[in-house]
């Protein structure tokens, strides 16, 4: 344990030197270490407590892809919290997710704040959340500062189309039917997508559909008081008295529907509107382009002829300009007289006549005056291709005087036969004239001419037989002589005849001559000097 060197216990060799005495130092610096540790620990604890963000609970129907302790809460792709636990609701109807959020969000947890789960989503319109394929699903938050603060929320089943962090405006559209519009369907301005359909809902009255569209800034400023919205969904094929029309805004809108808007008259910018304005959603661009008239009046027409091709929605025109449409076409039997009539109800927009200061009553009065002046309805061919009919109005000053018949459900306007009927009449007139033609006489004359023709033919025949008898023998004799001539020619040219032999020999001589000329020319080509010097 201690020294072995010294000889006895307690005996220390005398030559062991004395150690030098040192001054002891005061307070040990070692206490700095726990002090620093305490300071660090206290600071860490303070930070942990001060950074403790709000804890919220969110109800979800399903929490597919969400894991306690792992799933993050993100806002603008920035992590702002973490899911700490997931529990079933007591009645098992939903799942309650508890999340711890960053303290920055404490002031933005209100009744308008929304939570939803972001998962990869593939729809006809777009693909979203692809990054979650790798990173896993996460909880998204749309923090809203306005409203009553709360810490329990109900999560959305589907991601909202519009979040409050996006700049833009929401406009309300009203339409009779939804068309093929879905949430998230694009909103186009001159075929540029500027927004999406946010929501749609049935009006409590069930009379119309209210659609909310979100239009991104700065395009939301393009929505003015006179802006027209129309349904740009799918393929719009119309076949009516005006022809066949096919329209589509884009392939996407063909698949999932869409809404387009435009300002009909660039020269009239309209006034800026706020989000409370309600617009009408027209069924088609064409409809949206038509002016909207507040006054609509229904009239009854009676036609005595077939109205095949006249269907509801067929146009009612006045000198070619559309002023209304056909509402109803019926067949009616008068039980008293057994007369079958075709009552046609039309809807006219009298404002299209551009009468200033018109009201409902004034319009009726003016129509009566017009009828007195000769305003008559008649059927006309609207579309030659489809055979559709339309109702045409015009002022016929020569028409039989008539009046507006009041008393029925709708005032009845007088009609005159259609131009079609007149055409039929004139065609039958032509037929009658054809009938009056002296066809018998013509036939008789024709047969007489035929007899004469037959005589002429007979004479021609006789001429031909004379020709046969006189000319043919002479011809055959000539041919015989020609034949013998050819025979002697043949003998002259035979193989062993003298003429060909000599000819062949002469040709051989010519060939030899040609060969020697070639030899000479070759030699001369190589030795041109031979011409002067000789060979």
């Amino acid at each position: 344990m201690s020294e072995d060197g010294p000889p006895g216990p307690g005996g220390v060799p005398a030559n062991v030197p004395q150690a030098v005495v040192r001054e002891g130092n005061g307070i040990s610096l070692v206490w700095v270490i726990p002090l620093v540790a305490i300071v660090i620990g206290a600071w860490i604890a303070f930070r942990a407590i001060s950074e403790q963000g709000p804890v919220v609970t969110i109800e979800f129907k399903s929490v597919e892809g969400i894991e306690a302790g792992k799933t993050r809460v993100a806002f603008k792709d920035l992590q702002v919290g973490r899911v700490t636990s997931i529990n079933l609701a007591r009645d098992l109807s939903h799942v309650v997710v508890t999340a711890e959020l960053s303290p920055d969000l404490a002031d933005h947890l209100t009744e308008n704040t929304r939570f939803w789960i972001v998962r990869p989503q593939v729809t006809a319109g777009r693909i979203t959340g692809l990054t979650t394929l790798l990173s896993g699903s996460y909880l998204a938050i749309d923090p809203v500062g306005d409203g009553d603060a709360r810490d329990h929320f109900v999560g959305l089943d589907t991601p909202p189309v519009v979040t409050t962090s996006q700049e833009g405006s929401i406009f309300t559209l009203r339409s009779a039917e939804l068309g093929s519009i879905d949430i998230g369907a694009p909103v186009y301005f001159r075929q540029v997508q500027v927004g999406e359909v946010a929501t749609y809902e049935m009006d409590p009255s069930g009379q119309f559909i209210t659609t909310q569209v979100f239009i991104r800034a700065p395009h939301d400023a393009r929505v003015r008081s006179n802006t027209r919205f129309w349904n740009a969904s799918g393929l719009d094929v119309t076949i009516d008295a005006e022809g066949v029309r096919v329209r589509s805004a884009s392939l996407v809108s063909m698949l999932i529907g869409g809404i387009a808007f435009d300002n009909p008259d660039p020269s009239e910018p309209g006034v800026a509107v706020d989000e409370s304005t309600i617009f009408t959603l027209f069924a088609s661009q064409e409809q949206s382009e038509q002016p909207v008239y507040s006054i609509r009046q229904r009239y009854l027409l009676h036609f005595k002829t077939s109205v095949q091709g006249l269907a509801p929605r067929a146009p009612v025109v006045f000198r070619g300009i559309k002023i209304g449409r056909v509402v109803e076409v019926k067949l009616q039997l008068d039980p008293g007289t057994y007369e079958v009539r075709v009552p046609v109800v039309i809807e006219v927009e009298p404002q299209r006549l551009e009468i200033p200061d018109l009201d409902q009553q004034g319009a009726r009065g003016r129509i009566q005056r017009l009828v007195a002046n000769g305003l008559r309805a008649q059927l006309g061919r609207g579309n030659l291709l489809t055979g559709g009919l339309q109702v045409e109005f015009d002022v016929h000053t020569d028409a039989v005087p008539a009046r507006v018949v009041l008393g029925g459900r709708y005032p009845e306007l007088p009609t005159i036969p259609a131009p079609l009927e007149e055409i039929t009449a004139s065609v039958s007139g032509v037929l009658a004239k054809i009938e009056r033609l002296p066809l018998d006489q013509i036939g008789r004359d024709l047969s007489a001419s035929l007899v004469e023709l037959r005589d002429v033919l007979k004479e021609t025949n006789q001429l031909a037989s004379g020709f046969n008898e006189t000319l043919l023998p002479a011809l055959s004799e000539t041919l015989d002589r020609l034949d013998s001539t050819v025979g002697s020619l043949d003998a002259m040219l035979a193989e062993d005849a003298p003429l060909p032999l000599e000819l062949r020999r002469a040709l051989q001589d010519v060939g030899e001559a040609a060969r020697s000329v070639r030899v000479l020319s070759d030699y001369l080509e190589q030795h041109p000097e031979a011409l002067i010097r000789g060979r």
Binding site: S2, P9, V12, P17, Q18, A19, V20, S28, I33, A45
Partner: protein
């Protein structure tokens, strides 16, 4: 050990730590070697105080080391932060032997070191005479085993360096690892600053209580 034993100190002798010169110690505690001017102590300087200070610091840091995550594993986007205990609990579900190893090395050993050193210091301060051999053995075990707690830190550093696969997988060290490393280092330093000779000094106290312990 019943009879008072001879120690260098009881003979007022000490060997220089640097040059090994045997010197006669003055009554004062601190002295220096007349040959090489090196500082000579009969016992480690300030042993008990330093040890207490280091143990206290380690005990303070032991809390954040266990509360904060030491490592974040991100694989295919889903990240998971683990404290030491949550890692042990996670391993317990799959590989319980490994869980026991991790628990022993990372939780139990630092804690036991703190407790053992605390007990040794307390026993020295109260001049306890109970089972000095066992207490000395306890000290030796503590000093030897302490460094193995660093395994955790090594694992984290190696993983952080190796697993760098971007979105697929990555491992990041967290603040807990720093505290844990600090705890391990502090306990090791504390074990080193403890002087086991103090255990035995108490044994000779009745006969040679010439100087108060430090």
């Amino acid at each position: 050990m019943s009879a008072p034993a001879l120690t260098a100190r009881s003979l007022s002798l000490a060997g220089c730590h640097d040059c090994g010169l045997l010197v006669r110690m003055p009554p004062a505690h601190a002295a220096s070697c007349p040959r090489c001017r090196g500082t000579i102590h009969t016992r480690k300087v300030d042993s008990v105080r330093r040890c207490w200070a280091l143990i206290l610091a380690a005990a303070v840091l032991y809390v954040p080391a266990n509360v904060f995550p030491i490592m974040t594993t991100t694989s295919l986007g889903s990240s998971r932060s683990d404290t030491i205990m949550s890692g042990v609990l996670y391993l317990l579900q799959t590989e319980w032997p490994l869980a026991i190893v991790v628990f022993t090395a990372s939780v139990l050993v630092p804690l036991l070191k703190l407790l053992i050193l605390g007990y040794l210091l307390y026993s020295v301060q109260t001049r306890s005479r109970r089972r000095p051999v066992d207490r000395t053995r306890l000290y030796r075990i503590t000093e030897v085993i302490g460094r193995w707690s660093m395994v955790d830190i090594y694992v984290v550093t190696i993983l952080v360096a190796l697993v760098r696969l971007g979105e697929l997988a990555s491992v990041d060290a967290e603040v807990g690892a720093v505290f844990f490393g600090a705890v391990v280092v502090l306990t090791m330093l504390a074990a080193q600053s403890f002087d086991p000779r103090l255990i035995w000094d108490a044994m000779e106290a009745p006969s040679q209580g010439e100087r108060p312990h430090e």
